[in-house]
Amino acid sequence: MTPRALTALVAARLYEQRRLVLYACAAALVVGLLQPREAGGPVMFCSFLGILMALAQSPGRYPHLDRCEQSAPLFGRELARAKALIPCVAAALATTIYAAAASVRGAPDAVLMLPIALAAVVAATLTALSATLRLRGSRAFYVLLAAAASAIAYVLAVPAHSPLAEFGFCAIASFLALRQYGEALARYDPI
């Protein structure tokens, strides 16, 4: 996949979802200002936003983009990487705004909070992406799995005081989730 195609695909989706991204950022700003001191806030709340952004990539919400992407000469894994980037960019933006708002309100560890929250958010978002290609029970399962990934990341980073373990866990979870999404997308028949 060329960088030009990747940029076009991500930009087109982000443009279509600009209101959703804006609402997510506004919500992150408000919650960041109200709840600046607790690390659980950005991890849980921004993971929730990431899961919502991932679910917004479900087929059928933007049919003309879906059809273009499906008929474009791209491999499933290439398309998966590009589509995974969209909710990750949006969720990362919301997380950064949350951390900035918390920092403005005088949160003492806002600088450390940002990478911890980002790692958890990316893992949760990528896990939730697989739910977009599934229905009913298995869709709910992937959403719960994404929430569980975020919760585990929080436990490792905050109660266990091991950010490195959290980063390692999130890296592995993200890799597996992206791989799973790519395989599901390659097999997916858009009927």
Binding site: A5, A8, A12, H64, C68, S71, A72, L74, P190, I191
Partner: protein, 189 residues
Amino acid sequence: MPLLRMRSASFRLGSWSVAPVTLDVEPGELAARTFASAREAAVVALMAAGIVKASSGCVLIGDFDPRVQSVHCKRIAGFVPHEPVGLEERDFAAYVAYRAALWNVEARLAFERASALRTALGDMHEAFALPLIGALLAGPELIVLDRPMPAYAERILRVAGGKAVLSTHTNVAAARAFRRRDALRATPA
């Protein structure tokens, strides 16, 4: 050698399935097929464009199997969906740039082609014209139309030039409009 070969190609989704389809489309041929339901027509068009993989039987697009070489198939076949695109004329440039980037067509060349096609399509509604222009930007050898509007048959076949066209329909009169060779002969050099 046929550009598209379908041999007893069928698609199954739960208890519903598409009846096996067998057809050949030669380069430059106008093929129009009628199906019992809109869903069947849509699925056959998607299979012919390499977007949906046949559950049984065989589909070859320019000798490539969509189950294995879907990227090659999608370079040969341009798919035009039935559903109109919810874009307006002012989105034209952005849409062309997007399609050109996905199909790796040079931006300047894409705009030139798209503008020429838009002029050739005349007063065709942009919701139907844009997907057709998008599909033709990369110069596919086979154009697959999912239930196109018969009112636009002549214009669609004119801009398709000498390329092979497969269209799926739900009524015989619409299919007949897309088999008319005189529309192709009217193509300006």
